[in-house]
């Protein structure tokens, strides 16, 4: 190999390495930035108090509760529908045109911009169905958005159950539903659970859809019915970062909110990793 070739080889491979290391550096910077700026703000009262004095003081408790409500509401709707869709696709439907169309719809649903979901939710759930901008309208909007993720995860879980389980069950005279109920679902459950938690984590971090369908600028009380508006962590961060009248004064609160939001999302993802490795350890086939 001549020298020039060797030099070019080294330069090009170094460029590839730099690209990868730059990605690591950006991630490390972002983590460090959010944690270091936010950690000084976190205190008991920051977590458990309501905002005070036009949101220049106090905490973010209503936003934490609101995000929890809207995420659970989302899961309550999208999990049953998503898992049922996956069961239909994987256990009932014949491979064919209809099945392909459903899968195509799911993949494209995953690509619809989140603000378009928000607009759709505003038009259909808030205006047409008269739910108003509320917890219910936001949950319905987010559940449409999370549906494709949950279907995909649940289908993967169903596919990982060996075909022989089903065949053995059919051979013993079980019907299709009995087979699904007793031989497939128990083993697919951990995978479905982790997929749903991932959906929950992404729903909790979304801003654009709830911005139009029910998130409130400021509410002193916690929402008491599904038709109430609610505060939410990501929307609260957006407000504190860009919409508040004294931006520099509330900047520390924004740092704290960003850290809590990131910690929440990361914790949910860590939970997924734990559940997954547990399920893998228990797997006996």
């Amino acid at each position: 190999m001549n020298r020039r070739l060797r030099q070019r080889e080294a330069v090009n491979l170094t460029l590839l390495r730099l690209a990868a290391l730059l990605l690591l550096a950006v991630l490390a910077f972002m983590l460090y930035w959010v944690v270091s700026r936010g950690v000084g703000v976190i205190s008991r009262s920051f977590i458990f108090d309501a905002p005070r004095e036009r949101m220049t003081a106090g905490g973010i408790w209503p936003a934490i509760v609101g995000t929890t409500y809207v995420s659970l509401g989302t899961l309550l709707i999208s999990m049953p529908v998503g898992i049922a869709t996956a069961i239909y696709l994987n256990e009932y439907a014949q491979e064919g045109t209809w099945n392909r169309i459903i899968r195509l719809a799911i993949r494209n649903l995953a690509g619809v911009p989140s603000i378009v979901y928000g607009l759709f939710g505003l038009g259909v759930f808030a205006a047409l169905l008269r739910l108003g901008t509320s917890l219910a309208a936001a949950s319905l909007t987010l559940s449409l958005m999370t549906l494709p993720w949950i279907v995909t995860a649940a289908e993967e879980a169903l596919r990982s159950v060996p075909q022989s389980f089903r065949e053995g069950s059919f051979a013993l005279g079980a019907t299709r539903w009995q087979t699904i109920r007793h031989q497939v679902l128990p083993y697919a459950l951990p995978g479905m659970a982790t997929g749903s938690i991932l959906g929950l984590a992404r729903a909790a971090g979304e801003t654009a859809p709830i911005l139009l369908t029910g998130a409130a600028y400021f509410l002193p009380r916690l929402p008491s019915s599904p038709l109430d508006q609610f505060m939410a962590l990501p929307y609260h961060l957006y407000i504190l970062a860009t919409q508040h009248s004294s931006l520099t004064q509330v900047r520390p609160l924004a740092y704290g909110t960003a850290l809590v939001l990131l910690a929440l999302v990361m914790l949910l993802n860590a939970l997924v990793i734990i559940v997954r490795s547990r399920a893998r350890a228990k797997k006996t086939w």
Partner: protein, 317 residues
């Protein structure tokens, strides 16, 4: 005896009934995805077509003045469309080479240990909520851009592009890496047997072979970036003018140092305060429709490229 038969008879009947009911239930749920997608399209059309008919495409999609709340309202969306495309293309110019290089590094060059660090890092970048990207873009990237270009306000299209580029990276890296890893080992071995260096094998054999998967990665990232709201809303300033400037004195080109407002940011800014059913409302739904059609077309094409019948993917030209 007769009683016994009756009972088993009713039990099989019940079992059949349950069986049928469950099948119907699952089938019904299977259609939800199709109904949702069709429902979104139909609703967007139904809400936006009146405005398109009343004002005509010249005053909406091709109009250049967006100012729906003034005395003489303007519903021109061209500046919003141009801004959207501009910010997105700018992001891809940064993210595509960076992402493909990273993917190639992970699958072709990296040691196992580094690989085990890079893959979770990419996943972790993907779970950052978009509002946090927007916040970092606003507080870190915008002042940096302002300093570099000597401006007082750093909330410009370029800032949005940089922020979006980092958001789009995980999509490009993970999809491209899958495509590159999927290339058969024989290709590399054949290249090495012919005396190719590692870089030459990557550049001339592996990357061309993975071309369709990499194309899909770029398109998916484009779709993701076009539809992103928060990161752009918080970093690009808020101006509805046409972001064009004279390049080299005589050609009109995009102005990346201008504040812009994208289609997504426009809906987020105005969707809350608009009277339901008004002309302004319809115009916002038209913005939504444009976004829907744009992302749908891009995602569908990416889908077709990715799910091409086997064989087409392995061919090197």
């Amino acid at each position: 005896m007769a009683r016994l038969r009756l009972r088993t008879g009713s039990r099989t009947q019940r079992r059949e009934l349950v069986e049928k009911a469950m099948q119907a239930c699952f089938m019904l749920n299977g259609t939800v995805a199709i109904l949702a997608l069709a429902g979104i399209l139909i609703f967007l059309l139904k809400e936006s077509l009146p405005a398109l008919v009343e004002l005509g495409p010249g005053a909406t999609i091709l109009g250049t003045r967006w100012n729906p709340t003034s005395m003489n309202p303007g519903y021109g969306m061209l500046p919003l469309i141009v801004s959207t495309i501009m910010v997105t293309v700018g992001a891809l110019i940064i993210a595509v080479p960076w992402g493909i290089a990273t993917a190639a590094y992970i699958s072709e060059v990296a040691t196992v240990r580094l690989k085990e660090m890079l893959k979770p890092a990419v996943e972790m970048l993907a779970i950052f909520p978009s509002v946090i990207f927007g916040f970092i873009g606003l507080v870190v990237v915008a002042p940096a851009v302002a300093r570099v270009f000597g401006m007082t306000n750093g909330q410009v299209a370029l800032t949005g592009s940089i922020t979006l580029a980092i958001m789009a990276l995980p999509t490009i890296v993970s999809v491209a890496e899958d495509a590159i890893t999927g290339i058969s080992r024989d290709y590399r071995e054949a290249a090495y047997a012919l005396g190719a260096t590692r870089w030459q094998a990557v550049r001339m054999v592996v990357l061309p072979a993975a071309r369709s998967g990499i194309t899909a990665a770029v398109m998916l990232a484009f779709g993701r970036a076009v539809g992103e709201t928060m990161a752009v809303l918080m970093t690009t300033g808020d101006a509805t003018g046409m972001p064009l400037t004279e390049v080299l004195g005589f050609i009109t080109g995009p102005d990346f140092l201008a504040s812009v407002r994208t289609l997504t940011a426009n809906i987020a800014q105005e969707g809350l305060n608009v009277p339901w059913g008004s002309l302004h409302w319809q115009a916002l739904f038209l913005c939504g429709l444009i976004l829907f059609i744009l992302t749908f077309a891009v995602n569908l094409t990416a889908d077709l490229v990715m799910h091409r019948p086997a064989g087409g993917r392995r061919r090197v030209s």
